[in-house]
Symmetry: C2
Subunit: 263 residues, 2 copies
């Protein structure tokens, strides 16, 4: 289970200010902190960037790439910003992401072919609603897979995000269990070792008690790892959650050397 | 996933002294502490009690039952002590346990029928060696199941312990993963919802670093819960591990009320 930092987000005031001032330093400092944690990639969550999609996305890509060679996930729903990011990037890029929404199929999916990039597919209905149970999530996964093949994209480029629900939803825990089952089931369903990704922060949306939020995240992390998840997107600067992720990964990978490290 | 305290052990000096002095107080005090943690049952781990098996086992059972109505697991390899415990107990009893060792099949297994008690079966070869992989563990489970049926014991009385390995074993992590897979697989293999139990403390045998030991236990606990484990036997006075067990159980049980409790 590889770690992807979700720490670079436009929703943070410091990042908004950095963009407004065209000042790469706050972005660079954040990248320094994250890279030290032994991560695999960084999610560049810019939001839609509706005003200056090309200029603003280029600012973020250049700011990040000025300090790291790590792969980048370009995380925007705006296809103009997405293409600007794909053009600007020198590092390996993963498109984050598309779904069965008609707009996404028409504008985002083709970019994966054009730029030979990996692409994340969300298990969501065309109207952006979340499928409720395991079998409806699997149906959506099959449909995503068919769309990828139809677009002429190699199937290995697809990374599926089964969409971790907030536990505060009425059926949140039921859905969180469904996500685990889907991760376990997908490779057999699709007939190849399809890669999967999950975002951890959504799980505890709205939770106020920090200690209990950590406990729930750590527990679910271990369950995701055991289910066979490939990529976990999370706050890698949360020391406790980071340790839990690395411990779970050690148990799943099964190296005696790594156990030596914790004994 | 129900909690079983493994805290009452003859290996503790205070418990040895209590037995030598026929003083139930240390046992009773330990029981008070454990019962407050919301446990399902208590493992009474007396060891073989070779000198006075009947008298000594009766001491333990009476000491425990003087302060609790919880179910007891009688944890001894000595069939004389085991039968003394079964005779002495008023609380519900689970025999802990038997395996394919010829001696256990002959002397322990029949006690489950005679006293109408649940019985734990260990996934061990007749020579007490641990099977290495998933399929050999499953073969042993089938053999245990056949022995239970042949002894005229209702299959629902069987609780399978897949034997959690120490991670410090050369193939410990590989086997710990096999245990998870076995727990997930057994109900389908045996054709009914067979109950499973696991002892957590074995996992980190020999680990010196307390923080890392806790991290590994917490992570593996979540994986066991997600695999469908019914009973976890553990140190219920370890505050951190206890919280992790309850959190994992909440995620697996899927009650929105329990999420409310942690938000």
């Amino acid at each position: 289970m590889k770690l992807i930092a979700d720490n670079l987000r436009i929703t943070k005031l410091s990042i908004q200010n950095a963009l407004a001032a065209c000042d790469p330093k706050p972005v660079q400092q954040l990248m320094f902190q994250c890279e030290k944690k032994g991560i695999f990639a960084i999610d560049v969550n810019t939001g839609p960037l509706t005003r200056f999609p090309e200029k603003d996305m280029t600012f973020f890509i250049k700011a990040v790439e000025s300090v790291t060679k790590l792969p980048l996930l370009i995380d925007t729903s705006n296809c103009v910003a997405m293409e600007a990011g794909l053009k600007a990037a020198d590092n390996k890029v993963i498109i984050n992401g598309f779904s069965l929404e008609p707009d996404k199929l028409e504008t985002i999916l083709p970019l994966a072919k054009k730029y030979d990039a990996d692409i994340i597919g969300f298990l969501l209905y065309p109207n952006s609603m979340v499928p409720k149970d395991v079998s409806s999530r699997c149906e959506v996964a099959l449909e995503l897979f068919e769309q990828v093949e139809a677009a002429g994209i190699t199937k290995e480029k697809l990374i599926i995000d089964p969409v971790v629900p907030p536990l505060a939803w009425e059926d949140g825990i039921f859905q969180a269990k469904a996500v685990l089952e889907v991760i376990r089931t997908l490779p057999e369903l699709l007939g190849f070792k399809v890669k999967t990704i999950a975002g951890l922060s959504n799980l505890t949306t709205g939770a106020k008690n920090r200690e209990k939020k950590n406990l729930v995240e750590q527990s679910y992390l271990a369950m995701l790892a055991a289910a066979g998840l490939d990529y976990i997107m999370m706050d890698v600067l949360n020391h406790k959650t980071l340790k839990a992720a690395k411990t779970a990964d050690m148990l799943v990978k099964g190296s005696i050397f790594s156990w030596g490290m914790v004994s």
